[in-house]
Symmetry: D2
Subunit: 367 residues, 4 copies
């Protein structure tokens, strides 16, 4: 329970950090979508550790194998099974964790919930689980662009690290800018200070949080369902299901709560024969349904819980003790969070496109 | 699609603002829970309009009828159907809406999505839909307290209106304080300024946003599922599914992104024989699973979209035009948002309690 | 749990035999389908008791009220709530049931499962629950014919009562023939003997079983999902979810198990430019997916459990005792089972049409 | 879509006959169940081809690898990923199938549905897919016996092949009898004639159908949900989701339709302090819920579609042509169908046990 996402483009991830591997089954992918392992590898490579001086040196090749669901380079419409083997195990780095609960990690809650846990590297709660999501989302993005919205693009970027804030114009930011710097900041001027900050907290055995902003462009009108499965509700769930997240806001977000209706409302105008709004405090969704404007949202990531300092904690025998972080960890998860945010957004969108096509037919879904 | 919530305690709401009525079917309620219409009416009365000088004067009795699922004052384990008739219709107040899309409402997106909409009072997108949720949640709260966690209490409160912020100690705030003032602020000192602010924006034909904070006390350890159905992910979805919401944060939230790990981590200690944390920046969830500390979160509500000012908009024939709000509306939804937030929290919790009982048995679910 | 059916055209029924009423919520109905209460009433009238000398004299008007989901005579795409009030209560006819379990009914199992039951008229296990299904299916049939398959028709008929077998050519039987006789036999020659048999067993305080056959014509190719949600698997589930059913077979069914492959296989040929099979032992489904031939299946209904004879049973206090049936009951459910079978078939088909449209687009779903 | 089964003990199978492999993800397995690959291998070995002279000589080791969800020999409560590699590929045996549709197979319907298919060995429609189900069910059986019903046993057996019928007393048949003969007949006297018949049709390049009977003993009272998810409805769906099935009946089944109520009803009596019925025409379920008696049902399997005779068919270019079976196939699927029937029954039962525990607590679910 809890390892499935999506109603129609339904993914089931599996796998622990240390074990046979991690992976995903994608059920509900339309047939005849060109798909190879290389399509998936591109995004796995963006997600994997060891890419730069600001990420963890854990070095996994994270090579994806498509086990089923494709034939002669195209999807079959049947479940796509994807496997990534675990390779760079160092369980000895975790041996102390077999006896102590790491503060602000999931060790204690897993143990309390299940009466058992894989204490090696966080087990199921490891960010390594997101490999399955990223692989599935690589497929989702192909479906979105091929079947529904050829020009749709999902552009997440690091917006802040600690108190350092990138100045990003969401209507102008490009993937080139974001991917050209190792922080994945949307603002080139912020890159150096951010790198310096990450290096500084790491050198100090400490960690730092931050936010990821995201803009989605060229979204078909009409995605999202009234009431519970509002587009922003599913985005919120998707984002809060990512490790280390503590918040989500769409459009004007928390800042919008301080405004009056007169300041906040988005007036409608016709532009180039299309219904548009002259501002976008709605963030591209109204009543839970996309209105064709850019979808804009923001996700909060807490500082990495693993720090290289002795901290008060308890043992698995419920004795008070101390624990100091070991192993290889990101001092700041933000750069690697970017492809994860992108993946969850793609999974939400493709699902709602299929749902809209089911309900209202091809044209209504942007197809 | 989209009108169901919950995996095991599954609710299906139905109904438009103007039509035969609104209601809900609750499938998955355990048997032998004492339940009468009065149990439900209490919460419907807290939610309904016309309660005070700061809410809309629309006056609906909102009388709940239990149509099925109970027998001799107890639940049967079968679906509980609940009906609330619509009564105080004034469709004439909405006639202009048949021809024009209200800015920052769902009129345009519903029309674009479905090619049809009930333009009377917002139809399905009306906050009147939440009656079904509140009724279902009244049952959920009984199940929680009777079967799983006798002392669990869900305490949402208004934390801010516009730039006015209530000072609330979440570990001390009581339902008495909250319900004793018409704003439902958690801070008595903030009440008068907030009332004045709401009256002022209303007199100005304007509206104002705000935030609802929420603390949940005496939560069993172990609720929430790894990966996608994390407790905070389901809370985020539940909250963002409420009308007018723009953001959600749990524990340290967005503020926590500015902290280092050393500042942010919650140390474990033993207190009174229980595993506790000495701080609660996690907000009661770690790795998606409750750790027994108070669950603390915050929800952002935008200013009411209906304002009594001419605004630029377009007609249903896609001509540019203007529209001024009519009808009876809350200038500030926050006071009435409080029971809605409480309801969604209860629905998330009861569902996870049933899921945990399914997976791990009675004792693990707090029962 | 257990009162929902369908993945996309999702119905939730509620209601007990004696209580406020019975009804259904249909979530996932496409918008812009013309729909009035009269459309639903037609099928409810076919299902309801008191129609003829061979059905129970319980006389319920069974008047459907559409509470939501339509506007100006068309569906909105939002949940359609339908309510049918219970009227002809005679709880006194059931008072003995409060203390004794009726043999071969659900009284004992409900009590054992839930520790409580509504003993009036069978409560949730009453065939009265099928009102919600029939109402939902009336909508489903409109969706099928308007959006996907204009000429598709679902023709169930009584094929046998006791040992009396109707001779029915499924490729030729018409609704006119079936509905022109009160037994709803597919064979006019069988009608009188069947009526005589029903009268005879009823006069004897006894009851009798039988089978319903069904042919579905003009089915689009490609409906049904590989593996678990095969079209025949979903039909089997739908049929076995009807009260009093004990078996289901499709195409050659149990008789086909006695054949060799050479006798059984359906050869492919081209006819009128279409792929056709020269026989139809597959019953219109191959590998779980419709092949365009008539879908042909059969459902077994046991004799009504309520008989007017003293039978051995036990009391709710677990003492051995005797019980004799009372109240108004069908001595043979077959005539009224016909619209129920039709309804479940329609619900299965419409759901698979929406699923196919989601996966493969309009044209692939027959639209 | 369509490759998931179960609400709480939820399995997702994936894989084609020829490709990287086949497998399953089990989400919702309770924690702390002892589980090793050997536990799974036992059942895979019963299912796999090449076991005896009456099954296909295709020889796959079918070695299961548990990729996740266990730790130190116990389940973690997290998804269990299982992989079985495909090894004994002979795609050349299928080359003609790339151009012609095999009669009474899924080739044509898959092509029509998806516009693409893996024509090697039937792809997703191959019985090889059931490996995932059998592996998952091996776990399900452990959960059933450890958490809910220590003495529950599921005993399917071959009841007929062609017109040869085994005489089986379901209250007495044992696993030893069934597994001691290569046909898996429940009646030792029937074994030789059945073997002779299978050999004869195979020598003739032909095939033959049959039925599997099944008895489930020591079932807790109260499993199954009213209305749609009746225990027999879910069993029917499970069985009809198996390849080559054409029918399902429970208890008295189709034969019961010829009986009167007086003959058919099961009287209640107290025996050894338990509520029992003096006959079991209900087949262990009343009103969709188990009553504690043996669950008894029967499944119809058609003759294998692949026969070594030229048959009329069409090409993928829609030209009329002929096709003769090739490759290695079972002339009679019945012996290997036995573990498949057992598996689907186990998957249905475990799911309903978890659902009952969710709704009514430990004791109500047999735990």
């Amino acid at each position: 329970m809890g390892s499935n996402f999506g109603q129609l483009f339904r993914i089931s991830t599996w796998g622990e950090s240390h074990g046979g591997g991690v992976g995903v089954v994608v059920d509900g992918c339309p047939p005849q979508i060109p798909l190879t392992e290389a399509d998936i590898q591109v995004d796995l490579d963006r997600r994997r550790p060891g890419q730069s001086e600001v990420t963890t040196p854990r070095n996994e090749a994270d090579q994806a194998e498509i086990l089923s669901g494709t034939f002669e380079g195209q999807t079959l419409g049947t479940p796509i099974g994807i496997l990534v083997r675990n390779k760079d195990h160092r369980p000895e780095a975790y041996s102390e964790m077999s006896e102590k609960f790491r503060p602000s990690h999931a060790d204690y809650t897993y143990q309390a919930k299940y009466g058992i846990r894989n204490w090696q590297g966080g087990g199921r709660s490891s960010a390594r689980e997101t490999i399955g999501r990223v692989a599935a989302a690589a497929i989702a993005k192909k479906v979105i662009n091929q079947c529904f919205a050829p020009d749709l693009e999902i552009l997440p970027f690091v917006e802040s690290i600690g108190t350092l804030k990138a100045e990003v114009d969401t209507s102008a930011v490009t993937r080139e800018v974001i991917e050209s710097n190792i922080v994945r900041s949307g603002d080139p001027d912020s890159v150096e200070p951010m790198i310096d900050l990450i290096k500084k907290v790491r050198a100090d055995g400490n960690s730092i949080g931050g936010t990821v902003g995201c803009v989605i462009r060229n979204v078909p009108v009409g995605l999202g369902m009234p009431v519970f499965d509002r587009l922003e509700a599913d985005l919120a769930k998707g984002m809060l299901s990512l490790p280390a997240t503590k918040g989500f806001e769409v459009g004007s977000g928390f800042a919008g709560t301080k405004m009056t209706g007169r300041e906040h409302n988005d007036a409608f105008r016709m532009m180039d024969g299309k219904v548009r709004t002259t501002s976008n405090r709605s963030g591209g969704v109204q009543g839970g349904i996309s209105n064709g404007e850019d979808i804009v949202f923001r996700v909060a990531f807490k500082p990495t819980a693993t720090i290289m300092t002795e901290q008060d904690t308890i043992s698995t025998g419920y004795q008070e003790t101390e624990l100091k972080g070991r192993g290889r960890h990101d001092a700041c998860v933000l750069p690697r969070a970017v492809p994860m945010v992108e993946s969850m957004a793609a999974l939400v969108l493709v699902d709602h496109m299929l749902r809209q096509r089911a309900l209202c037919g091809d044209s209504a879904a942007g197809g």
